[in-house]
Subunit: 447 residues, 4 copies
């Protein structure tokens, strides 16, 4: 699951008594290939996490899984998503004496569980997850069980696999393929599963709700070879390209993706419009994924190194350029300039999603609304700004069609599409608070 | 204060708002001489700590000062001593939901303070220190003050200095000399001092009690150039040597110290008995101090490298060998063998303290009673065991005389001498509990 | 140029007097992004190198550029290629007292230059390069000039760029694009260029020879966006795919590349055969490039993590699988198995080059001949071995046609194609020696 | 031998075929206690070195033992002393093509040996050592023997030991004591010993010469428990103190050493003058030895941390302060000021050697003559400068008497005393050259 977060990685194992942790800044391959590290992680069950920072600075104490020794025993947890009332909860927990050791939103869960008046670990866990709001696909580890849990809308994915009789919980099915495990089923929205020596058990701790799976997982976040929300990601992306070709055809000689995230949609576009598909932009994989590099400066430098135009393909051509989304607009501006410098006669930009007008508070690190260029410019303005001959986005209904629906149901949308519509499916308690975010008063360098 | 602990060191600074920490395994000179490190420690007040582990394994999360963000603000603390009801308090705090992040006894203080129902930081601090038992000389840092506090018996030292108008709290006066600061006075037993922009203020949060300063500070722990408990350490040690010469003279040609801790007593012994003093054993300072190296294996290897006999001085001589104490007996056994191998005709061992028969629970890392050789052997047996021609310890009254008293007052001893008498001046709550010590269930390698 | 070597990287700068070096194991991005490192590399000229080990173990002393202080001044050199008489030269240099500090073949050049009886640096350099055999594209740095030189056959690429008046020497043109520099021309086979404050100068130190540029640069080694040997690599690869479709059509539903090196050829194949193109195998870019990872064990583990089949695309389909080459056969075996496990009805493997039957001694780390599966099996045997329904390689003439020729001229081949034909264009002095390779007698761990 | 050099340490082992090296900046205890490091040093013979830099900057490539692969086999060497014609030899070796990899004077020996026209390793070694001038006690390792060699004057020490049948070569006897080895004899001045499987063999490659052992070894450099030059160092130092008391008595209450190097002389002085001996200055062993810290800035900071006055001993007393030597005068100035600030009534400085007026070019890192305060001031001026009530040095004859002679033989001095007399017993070829020292043109950070 490295593609879901490259800032840091951690594993906590348990041998039935002792929990052991390895938590490191950087990639899994940089930190978890040593036999020593693996040997230290004794035990027969373990959970892991790749960090992609949306809250909390990049520091070792924020690397998950987090762990707490509680009156009900040891408890480790890894969290995909974002708790939207974490600041609020943190404030009240601090009032009653809880000491926070990280700036991660996930730590509130530990303190809710530790201070719960319930006896058993599971009751405490249910107590805790009922008090948190937002998006959460959680895996947790105790000395006798592994727990999986998705919020009642199922915003983030979590699937169950089976490897030679051992249960696996993971965000995406591709992790199962890689190790030769069998996909069993999704953890359902609002479901809590308990894996123990007596097998797997299912609880429903939350009130019923309609599923609102994150549609941006199809556009960008998930790996193309995964099946999430019961659909193959590559297939949805190709269908997005085909919808886009129907909605916004272009008089062109060649379809060129902005690699790698725009590639499947570009293949779909080319196929549907019967235009040639070519790799007119070469991606250098020795630099990270732009969208999820944490610092602005690195993002800035990264673009130049990351993509290079293939002059031979582009010179004199009318080019359809397919990208997954436009966030700040800076990347598109540079890419278009690069394609023009390489001699393209015309540039027709096609975006494989609707305009990104609103921030995500559910685990995707979009910048604040004011920095989202589509919240400030309409399509014509933006086309002029990034200097293309034409610009078109996929419609929201087109996106829903690609994802297998007839279109968006405005009364009860089938997906979470808040980044495109501003329609947030949960309360945003921390956002609506007029009080300032608590400032971190303690700094320690990451070792 | 490096001689008081070499395992790890830490500093927390505060600029009135933000607390910054640097905590590292190893010596101060290995970690705190880089300009970068010092530059990161912004602010106008700071506290530091050298760790010498008596509780908690050697790991980064146990390195002090510890820090907590509480409802009353940020709070950092460094502790010299040992809390003898820490396990008991830890258990109850965990019951009510406190999450411990270290195995240090000191962390209970943070949770007591965080969960205190008092409003102000000082009231919370008083609340907390009233609940802890044992030996504690504490320095703490908040965003507006520095706090110093000694337990009501004043077991561990803490002095106040003044450097060009800035107050300093430190264990021993030699730290003041080194930087050219002026000694002001001791923090008194049971006193709490608050240093802030309005000067220094004194509180008395504990019931009155007679002082019981640790007499082992004179025998071994403090630096000879310090004044602690109102007495110069080197002077007390020389007087110990003189008392020992009177109590246990020896027919000998030369007085030889086991360096460095036995040296002042040997000088005192030689002077009082009019025998020549010579460095018959050379100490290699490129290996650490035996007594406080944490691992047994290193202690084992260390002895051989640390001391070497000077054959030229010892051959054919009747030697008085002066050492500060005998703990396990293994060091003495090797030293005597080495002195004999170097050709000494007779070896008369003189110990600058009474037999070490009992463990210290107040901050000196003596092993458990069963490993203290003097708890298992009388002087004659021990003399045979370490193969000396004669062996004598200083009497307890002799030790008190060297420390300026007429002798030990058995009804109300003037010092804590538990390691020599088993007379512990505080309840030993955790020791008396029949319940097992809580086992650590979480392991993470020190980075 | 990171794609040309990931084992280690180095830069040597010169400020006209002092040479400064930074040499590190690992990627450029891991070692050369710190401002400190860049600040230490003072000066107005510099050369760099990415190491991809073909000779010499992975150790810091083998990381280039290498440096020597000679009687004619300081001299740093970075080498792309392989010296095929290095062992022979090393032996004679050692006889006369030269002390080698690395196991790199490139170090002989330093000693030849240092022991040359010529006076000027350039004369010594010419003296030295005339004595070495094999493939070499060299860049060198002295206190007053930068030198570029290609062997007389021009086996490895080297191009000249211009960035705002400053000359650049680099293996491939994409490096010029990335920084916005202008391509000037290739350093010609057998040419030596001198860049100094008085501009650029050209020498011809070698006897005339027909060019034999490495054809494998087009198949695999160069980046698709580069122009090397006067041809765009992506374009040659697409033409390879088209040639392959003509030579070896397949009754199939979809063309799927083994990413990333097979992708352009697969696009060409799909286009020429009017079949759909799809990403049926997803490449994980968080693990390195199989072909150039130095250790066998890592190569073994890497395959599983690196490629995953996209079941949704493959299930029930007749698949044309396009890869650039088959080396040991192990990768193909696994890929085919994976594609079959994903449900492919038929697998038709098409290879974008002729069978790799012979080792490269000119800078590509192919294993010895006995480990090249195509040297042991014919196409039918190999098809059975990797379990495909059909297998076809591109013909050698087809490859030459894709590279712009009418076909291979058997009397005077236009390219070096030794890995496909065994026709080595230079003497292989070290290979033909019956004496054993000198064993390294000194080991020091890389820091 | 850590006391002879703390900058860096290295070991080279040989198993009869392969040489293995570990070379690290810092102390032995910081780098050579890991089992991994020891395990990597396979073999049945090894040589090691502690570096104390007198030539060459502190960098990993200067850390000894140095190694060369030569036509006669592998050769590793470690050197105690200084080659006084190294610059001269380096220049000529470079002219004929030798490439230097370090700035160490010792590297010339490798190149002389590598370029020797002799056949056998021993003949080459003799060839090489006959061409070098200065002070050298060498140990070398080949695949079949260990070599020890002292220059014809025997300026630096080298002794032979025996540990259960295995021969040991080491600078000082204390190394033998520490591991329980037996002292066999000194390698004699001008002797070359060869240790191999057939035992030990002795050669005399140099013309006869009278021995000139470094008298400063007794004053400061050697450990007090060693026997070097056939005399016990502690004993010579005590006799120095006694001579000093006779030559320069003082009306005083207490004799106080500047620890640790002044301590034996102070004991001797106190005994001879029947004055009390006390540790009036406490040395902090957590900072290094002033004299041999390489950088001036560290030396400056070090003094303050290293010594602290014990006010209780000094206040109101007339103090005899005994130090081994005065180099720049800065340390003495601070120590005297500190002793006065502690309340001493009078300070009588006594120096355990004659005035240090000249630089050492034989392996002791004295600064250049112009920085030696005794070369610029006479005793009266210096007494005023360091603000003592009286100052006296030991006479040169007194020093020789303490070392067992009747006095210095001016026609044929029994020791090298150049630092006190300017009488250098070897030519100083590099010093006398009017040409500038070759500047290093290559910089690489130490990893």
């Amino acid at each position: 699951m490295q593609h879901r977060g490259q800032e840091a990685a951690g594993i906590v194992s348990c041998d039935g008594k002792i929990f052991r942790a390895e938590r490191h800044m950087g990639l899994v391959s940089e930190n978890f290939t040593s036999l020593d590290v693996i040997a230290r992680l004794k035990g027969n069950s373990a959970i892991g996490h790749n960090r992609y920072s949306t809250t909390g600075e990049p520091a070792l104490h924020n690397v998950q899984p987090l762990f707490a020794e509680t009156a009900a025993g040891g408890f480790a947890v890894a969290h995909n998503g974002n708790i939207t009332n974490a600041t609020h909860l943190r404030r009240s927990l601090r009032e009653t004496g809880s000491i926070f050791q990280s700036t991660s939103d996930t730590e509130v869960l530990l303190h809710l569980l530790a201070t719960s008046t319930k006896n058993s670990m599971i009751e405490r866990f249910v107590d805790a997850v009922r008090r948190i709001e937002g998006a959460f696909a959680l895996v947790a580890l105790t000395d006798s069980m592994m727990i999986g849990c998705r919020d009642s809308l199922g915003i983030r994915p979590l699937v169950i696999g089976d490897f030679e009789g051992a249960f696996i919980l993971t965000s995406e099915t591709c992790a199962l393929d890689i190790i030769g495990a069998r996909y069993v089923r999704d953890v359902e929205p609002g479901e809590l599963v308990i894996v123990s020596s007596s097998g797997i058990e299912s609880l429903r701790p939350f009130p019923e709700a309609s599923s609102r799976f994150c549609i941006f997982e199809y556009v960008y976040f998930s790996r193309p070879d995964s099946v999430v929300g019961h659909r193959n990601v590559y297939d949805v992306r190709k269908r997005i390209g085909a919808e886009l070709a129907r909605e916004a055809p272009a008089p062109a000689d060649v379809v060129v993706p902005v690699p790698d995230s725009g590639t499947p949609a570009a293949i779909g576009y080319a196929e549907a419009s019967a235009l040639p598909f070519d790799l007119g932009i070469i991606r250098n994989h020795y630099v990270g994924r732009t969208f999820i590099e944490p610092s602005d400066q690195i993002r800035h430098m990264g673009v130049k190194l990351k993509h290079n135009a293939n002059r031979h393909i582009l010179a004199g051509k009318r080019v359809v350029l397919v990208d997954d989304s436009i966030v700040r607009g800076t990347t598109s501006l540079k890419i278009v300039e690069m394609v023009r410098d390489a001699g393209a006669a015309e540039v027709h930009m096609r975006i494989a999603s609707p305009p990104t007008t609103d921030s995500c508070f559910y685990g995707v690190d979009t910048p604040e609304k004011s920095k989202l260029i589509a919240s400030r410019m309409n399509v014509e303005e933006l086309a002029r700004y990034i200097k293309v001959d034409s610009l078109a986005y996929l419609s929201i209904d087109g996106l829903y069609r690609a994802a297998g629906e007839m279109g968006r149901d405005p009364d009860m949308p089938q997906y979470c599409d808040a980044c495109f519509t501003g329609d947030y499916p949960t309360p945003l308690t921390d956002q609506r608070s007029s009080r300032p975010q608590p400032q971190l008063s303690f700094l320690e360098p990451s070792v």
